[in-house]
């Protein structure tokens, strides 16, 4: 039984809005649908899409797709994009956008693997590299945040500028070289597993869980949704819109720093080419997960599902040896089909 209060059918066309309505968690929804981010209907569509994908994977690649190893491969690949996507969900929910995430990941990874940093890390502990990456990521996020919140520069423009600058700076610092991480214990730690689960996947899970709590259960999350939904109303309700906005970009910057660390561990390198097109992947994951590009609405669960769908899709394609061009064509068709299906599904459930 659904208890949602869906919207009317007069959705304006052309707005950047998913047509599926968000259900507000009333008194009745099951624990499951409650977990699915309070908008069970929408996320249900995503779950179905993911399940269909898995069925296709099993049917076409059988054991190779179904193995535990392959599942871990998918999750490991999803981890880096996932961490940034969670941060991106916050920024978009708060009414912003960040095009610079890929560049920030690149810059963080480069800065954390310079000779100087690595030497220091050798003397002290590899945590130095982690801190450096987080610091650089956070600082870039802060610059974005200040420009957007206090400088009133449109987020698109401010982060576009950061995209150019951060990647340029990363190239200058690294001299366009790939910097190899020498600290084995760093790689062993992040590349390792705990009770069979890769550390990267655990990090992703923790970030997603924290993100979920932060968005749904804290004043921070509530304020984020408020400033994204109606900044003027938020301001008049006494919320410090500027400061909250700045926080969001810093948060995303930190997520980028963390992603840089994860990428460094995965590829054993820091380079200025890391994170290419990450902005597109993360925004796409968030948006397909139901986050409104115009702000004010979004769920972490949806975003995580979005990331998993994209990653699984690529995996299934590769297992089936599909060439890249065909992959791309199919990807486009599948995305649209999934969204349309989801809408019909939502409409159906609504009318019951």
């Amino acid at each position: 039984m659904s208890v949602e209060t869906p919207r009317t059918s007069e959705e304006p066309a052309g707005t950047q809005e998913m047509a599926a309505p968000a259900a507000t968690a009333g008194s009745g929804p099951s624990a499951l649908s409650r977990f699915l981010g309070g908008s069970a209907t929408r996320n249900l569509g995503l779950v179905i899409a993911l399940v269909i994908l898995c069925v296709v994977g099993l049917a076409t690649a059988g054991e190779r797709f179904g193995s535990f190893d392959n599942a871990l491969t998918i999750l490991r690949l999803a981890a880096v994009v996932g961490v940034v996507s969670v941060g991106m969900t916050f920024v978009i929910c708060g009414g912003g956008i960040d095009l610079s995430v890929g560049a920030i990941v690149a810059l963080s990874s480069v800065w954390a693997t310079t000779l100087a940093t690595q030497t220091m890390a050798e003397d002290i502990h590899w945590i130095v590299m982690v801190l450096t990456a987080l610091l650089v990521g956070g600082a870039c996020g802060l610059v974005n945040g200040l420009l957007v919140a206090y400088g009133k520069v449109a987020p698109f423009i401010a982060t576009l500028a950061m995209l150019a600058s951060a990647r340029g700076l990363a190239e200058l610092i690294a001299q366009r070289r790939t910097q190899i991480v020498r600290d084995r214990s760093f790689i062993d730690f992040f590349g390792g597993s705990v009770i069979g689960i890769p550390v990267l996947v655990i990090i992703f899970a923790i970030v997603a869980a924290l993100g979920w709590v932060l968005l749904n259960r804290t004043t921070f999350g509530r304020r984020t949704l408020a400033i994204g939904g109606n900044p003027e109303a938020a301001r008049l309700a006494g919320i410090k819109v500027e400061r909250q906005t700045a926080y969001l970009y810093v948060l995303l910057g930190l997520a980028c720093g963390l992603a840089a660390v994860m990428l460094m561990a995965r590829t054993t390198t820091g380079t200025s080419t890391h994170g290419q097109l990450l902005e597109l992947d993360t925004i796409a994951a968030a948006v397909i997960g139901g986050t409104l590009l115009s702000g004010g609405r979004g769920t972490i669960v949806g975003t995580v599902l979005g990331v998993l769908i994209f990653t699984t899709l690529t995996n299934v394609f590769t297992l089936n040896n599909v060439d890249t061009s065909t992959q791309n064509v199919a990807k486009g068709v599948i995305i649209v089909a999934a969204v349309l299906l989801q809408q019909r599904l939502a409409a159906r459930r609504r009318s019951t």
Binding site: A61, R76, T178, R266, Q276, T318, D323, T324
Partner: protein, 316 residues
């Protein structure tokens, strides 16, 4: 002819002596990749060796339209020669012809124009040949190791680029020679991250692999990381381009071989452009003039000859 080792030890020639002041423009794809970075810095370094060369390097770009504008700027500037590594040979043909018609010497590097009239000289890395070298070496492995029904995988570079197609075709053609085909093929984007990503998926796609050819040692760093992450090393790993990393891996035994793709082509181009602009000739050839077309070799570097090639390996 192996002109890659274009050192200045060629005695008996006055070619390196300062001559007329010449301005050389250089334009290439965005140096967002180790090999291209090496191309740029080698060209830059080569130009620095000559006091009579004013070197102008335009912003690297992957946008053909943008690169055309750069060449137009060089024409407006009336440079003496242009060394051009096109993002796409065919796309830059028109403007190169225009430059030639304006009396500017064009040296075409790596990716060939669609007509021979667009450049005075063409220096080509051999992408098809590179694939052939890799394929031939793979065949040799099949035979040496006596593999029946071997699983051969290929990790290509940016799939939309013609050069990737050439490499893949060469590889496939050579494999045909020993009745083999590519069983699994994925394409990365010449970056470490993409290399790691596609290799991870590839390893899942093929539970057992005998030979892997990776087009590019830059993305190879990521590919190697993926192998380590998955703890897989049952296969012979062949690389491409010939970065210093790859050479070191070969020495350490982590890599079987790599197929060289010389990163000094543009440097050679600068050298030739200077000679042409100063109306000199190539002293090592019997022929008087600089040849129209030079195709560089794509040798295979293995444990046996890695020491010899190590100095050529570029840091990426």
């Amino acid at each position: 002819a192996d002109t890659t080792s274009s050192d200045s030890q060629r005695a008996g020639s006055s070619n390196d002596d300062p001559g007329d002041k010449v301005t050389i423009g250089f334009s290439g794809p965005a140096a967002d990749h180790g090999w291209l970075g090496a191309i740029n810095s080698a060209a830059q370094a080569e130009a620095k060796k000559f006091s009579d060369v004013e070197f102008k390097a335009a912003e690297g770009t992957n946008d053909a339209s943008q690169q055309i504008a750069q060449v137009e700027t060089f024409i407006n500037d009336k440079v003496d020669a242009i060394v051009l590594l096109p993002t796409d040979g065919a796309a830059l043909t028109e403007v190169a012809t225009k430059a030639m018609n304006a009396g500017i010497i064009v040296v075409n590097v790596d990716r060939e124009f669609s007509t021979p009239f667009a450049a005075r000289t063409t220096i080509l890395g051999d992408n098809y040949g590179m694939g052939v070298s890799a394929g031939t070496y793979a065949c040799k492995l099949v035979k040496d190791k006596n593999l029946t029904n071997p699983v051969i995988a290929e990790i290509a570079g940016i799939d939309a680029l013609p050069l990737t197609q050439d490499r893949s075709k060469g590889f496939a053609d050579a494999l045909k020679g020993c009745n083999q085909t590519v069983d699994n093929r994925v394409a990365a984007e010449f970056t470490v991250e993409s290399g790691e990503k596609v290799a991870s998926n590839l390893l899942q796609a093929a539970p057992k692999i005998d030979i892997i050819w990776n087009h590019d040692d830059d993305q190879g760093v990521g590919v190697m990381a993926a192998f380590d992450n998955a703890k897989r090393n049952e296969f012979a790993f062949i690389g491409g381009a010939g970065s210093a990393n790859a050479m070191r891996w070969i020495k350490e035994g982590k890599m079987e071989a790599t197929v060289l793709y010389p990163p000094t082509q543009a440097a050679d181009g600068v050298r030739l452009a200077r000679l042409l602009a100063q109306d000199k000739s190539m002293s090592d050839l019997v022929q008087v003039a600089v040849p129209r077309r030079i195709v560089l070799d794509a040798p295979v570097v293995t444990k046996d000859n890695v020491e010899e090639y190590l100095p050529l390996g570029f840091e990426s």
